[in-house]
Symmetry: C3
Subunit: 124 residues, 3 copies
């Protein structure tokens, strides 16, 4: 029973693995997004990163801080999902319900990033 639950023969585990993969890639992309904003606004947190002697370390650029808040929000929500989603899969839930719940989590986290970290950052 438990043997089958953690194989790709189980559609619930397959769906969980898919969305976990998508969300890990999305989270790692936040580091890239932060780096892009840091270079665009010339906001660096480490003295050794300063590209010219005229720059100073800066911690309060609104665009950089917005991406960092979005990244932290991912840590607060996606990482517990990995733990609870795996345990939920092991309870052998209804496939229809579980797959749609995983979809809802995955899609809503992607929408969160698009709206909060990308669209809104232009208006600041």
């Amino acid at each position: 029973m438990s043997l089958e639950l953690l194989t790709l023969n189980n559609p619930v585990f397959k769906s969980f693995t898919f969305w976990a993969g998508v969300l890990v890639v999305k989270m790692l992309a936040m580091s890239l997004l932060t780096a892009i904003q840091r270079f665009k606004t010339k906001t660096f947190a480490n003295p050794e990163d300063l590209m010219s002697p005229k720059l100073k370390v800066k911690f309060d650029d609104p665009n950089v801080e917005r991406v960092r808040r979005a990244h932290r929000n991912d840590l607060e929500n996606i990482l517990p999902f990995f733990a609870i989603g795996l345990l939920y899969t092991l309870t052998n839930p209804s496939a229809f319900l579980a797959i749609n719940l995983f979809r809802a989590v995955g899609i809503s986290r992607i929408v969160h990033t698009l709206v909060y970290a990308i669209t809104l950052s232009r208006d600041v």
Copy 2:
């Protein structure tokens, strides 16, 4: 053997699942606690959240920052526990020891939140 370890027939796994569930709910409640402190002290980090044109974004309210530090402390401690607790369960440990260790983690994290983020925030 490993088959049985990740089912609710295993009292260690049952205890781990219970405390993981409690701690995920506790962690998600930290977002709510932050929101409550933000509204109470009118401290918002995003320009689009400001409720009146007289307010400005603010990052240094001591009560909001205290809850955010408590939340970050959860990320630093509870999330590694999810990983290591699952691997520990797979080593087929003594049930008495494992269940009491999980209890100690769960209870001490709840006490941490009550003392650090709730009781002490009134004194600031």
Copy 3:
């Protein structure tokens, strides 16, 4: 099949468990490193932590903030590795590839801490 994957008879799982253990210990040590820097520079974030009435809460010490950024970087990278590494192990990958990938992650995270949080902090 899946039965064998999550036991120490599987060299991939054994390697994953080893590196997960090493990285959890490394992450928990970051809290200690932060505490050391806090006492060395007398930088405390909570009013109840101030050791003498002359001190004030301070959030901008560069050495403390550097360790905290290193710790946050761990949360952003090591914690998703725990999730994705476990799922990867369940796909029954090539042992040679998987074990060397886990080694690369483990060693590079230790080097990151040594360089970023320890060596560079002396120069600030």
